[in-house]
């Protein structure tokens, strides 16, 4: 299941989507809104999203993980709009026969979500400023993505 929502993410529902008597292992990852980043204090986050593409990218990632790790089930839910401190912004749950596959798939999915899914986070700082977060420290996925303008 892939779901993008402006509502609170319920961990029990995400778990229920992957639990199965065929699985021996469930890994649930929750990304939660941190109060402090490099000493600065956050009031809340807002998420922007390219909706159709984000859904299709998440579905591709899910299918790739299901096949690569022979998962029993996989569920990804991402929050959109405003998210308060301590709230869940993303939930990834996977189930599998053995635990190694569940851990590996869960971690890979989170890595990929942060590289390729068109969702953006805006920090609302306590001083009233807002910053869209566009990480520059990671290399682009391929050399074609670089452009040189004089």
């Amino acid at each position: 299941m892939i779901h993008l929502t402006e509502n609170t993410i319920e961990p029990l529902e995400v778990l229920a989507a992957v639990q199965s008597p065929l699985a021996g292992a469930v890994v649930l990852f929750l990304g939660t809104t941190r109060q402090f980043t490099d000493g600065r204090q956050t009031v809340q986050l807002s998420y922007d999203c390219y909706l159709g593409m984000a859904e299709s990218q998440l579905t591709e990632l899910k299918n790739a993980a299901m096949e690569n790790w022979q998962l029993t089930a996989c569920c990804i839910v991402h929050r959109l709009g405003d998210v308060g401190i301590g709230q869940v912004s993303v939930a990834v749950a996977v189930s599998s026969v053995h635990r190694q596959a569940a851990f590996a798939a869960g971690e890979w999915l989170m890595d990929q979500i942060k590289i390729s899914v068109p969702i953006w986070k805006q920090e609302h700082w306590t001083d009233g400023r807002r910053d869209w977060i566009h990480p520059q420290n990671e290399p682009p996925p391929s050399s074609e993505d670089r452009i040189h303008v004089e």
Binding site: D48, H78, S116, H134, P135, I147
Partner: protein, 80 residues
């Protein structure tokens, strides 16, 4: 040919618009679109690693545009 490009997050703020309209030569590639975007909107140069999505997929710079595609400017993502 004219094509609109969807803008998101910080890039939307930078151009102050949800979509921008670009005039492209017939048979332009995505690489040409990238160069034109940075020429016409220098404020977008702050994201050298931006990507272009064509019909909701990332494509290579040699992808040739026909004029009816859904285009989007994808600055570095920060979901999760």
């Amino acid at each position: 040919m004219k094509q609109t490009v969807k803008m998101f997050a910080g890039a939307r703020d930078a151009v102050d618009c949800r979509e921008i309209e670009m005039s492209l030569p017939e048979g332009a590639t995505v690489g040409q679109l990238r160069e034109l975007l940075h020429l016409q909107y220098p404020q977008l140069r702050q994201w050298p690693t931006f990507r272009i999505a064509v019909d909701q997929r990332y494509v290579a710079d040699d992808f040739i545009l026909l004029g009816k595609e859904e285009l989007a400017y994808i600055p570095p993502v920060s979901g999760g």
